[in-house]
Symmetry: C2
């Protein structure tokens, strides 16, 4: 048995496949060279009392490490990073900057990108979504412009790869249905650089294979 | 001169007064018994090149500690908590749970509450906002129900006060214009408990006094 267990959904709609947040934790674990068990949750029971004991909001991932029950992908990835030089440099200033960019990814960049995903892929036929979309796109463009400036002359947010790139890249993937990242070449190259990492490829392939297996099992 | 400098806005519209994110950092500093300098930014120049060097997104707060330039209120508050038992217990499991609830506040709870604030106080006359509001309120109620369960039998999210309460309380304040928190008595009592802490009162009074001074100075 592995020391780490990650929860994921057994199935999700096609638009969400490859975007569910347990991907962040799997990617971080592979970057750190750690193995883990996966516990798949039926989306229909995710808000059941037993699962809420692990993840109060009924979302994924929940994470168990040495008996400690955790949730929130951002927190889990940072806690893994604290113990792995593959995810974060040792110097205090660099560790602080890693945490800064992790919160930037999830609190400053993600909200507008996630809103655009929801607008386009869950509510596109609704009138409010059509009316609201231009302002959301404007905010997304502002965030991509800031990332362009930050990534100028850098392969990753801090120069070298860190846990912050795991969060930022998975956030940028939320708008893969648009050409907004492609129209910002520096950010586009950055995202491709992240997605070409073996640990990312392994994590996303594994997640996709589980969805395929669940469909076969249900057939 | 103090070791810490926090940036805030010199003025903001009335609806935002008491909600701007530098409040989180000021509150954390006072809980930790630390003094600091304030650098007020004219909102009109917040996206200028010099300020972007400190805060790439042109927001507040930016934070300087021992020569290290940081931003993102969540990251700053956690870094302060790492060095103060007033903000976080010493045990590794409790530190992990503090970080979990900090990310929960900013990545799982804040987005829908912030969306409701924006709908009601910045876009209330727009058609999309009227159409969208019911679904946003439903998400907010879901989050408040989870917090009710978490706070059952606890004064604060982890039992004792931590940095996670600074983030969660300031997130809950975003919907002070509604009766949604009041209609969840456990959460309402929790928020009042947080707002009665001397460090919170001192931080918010200081922030409000600065806005008043800026108006006088401009008159």
């Amino acid at each position: 048995m592995n020391h780490h267990t990650v929860t994921g959904f057994s199935s999700v709609p096609p638009f969400a496949q490859g975007l569910v947040r347990d991907l962040r934790v799997r990617w971080a674990l592979y970057e750190a060279g750690l193995s883990y068990d996966v516990e798949l949750i039926d989306p229909a029971t995710r808000k059941s009392h037993p699962y809420r004991q692990k993840q109060p909001f009924g979302m994924v991932p929940a994470f168990t490490a040495r008996g400690l029950e955790l949730f929130e992908s951002g927190a889990i990835v940072y806690l893994l990073a604290e113990e792995s030089n593959a995810l974060m440099p040792a110097e205090a200033a660099d560790r602080a900057k890693t945490l800064v960019w992790m919160f930037a990814a999830l609190n400053t960049v993600e909200p507008s990108l996630d809103a655009l995903l929801s607008l386009d892929l869950q509510h596109s036929t609704e009138e409010w979504a059509k009316l609201r979309r231009p302002a959301v796109v404007e905010t997304v463009r502002d965030r991509l412009a800031v990332l362009t400036a930050q990534l100028e002359g850098r392969d990753f947010l801090l120069g070298r790869f860190t846990a912050a790139d795991i969060l930022m890249a998975t956030v940028l993937r939320l708008i893969r249905h648009t050409d907004l990242v492609a129209s910002h070449p520096t950010v586009d190259a950055y995202l491709k650089r992240c997605e070409l990492r073996p640990a990312f490829e392994r994590a996303v392939e594994e997640q996709m294979a589980e969805y395929a297996n669940s469909i076969q099992a249900a057939a």
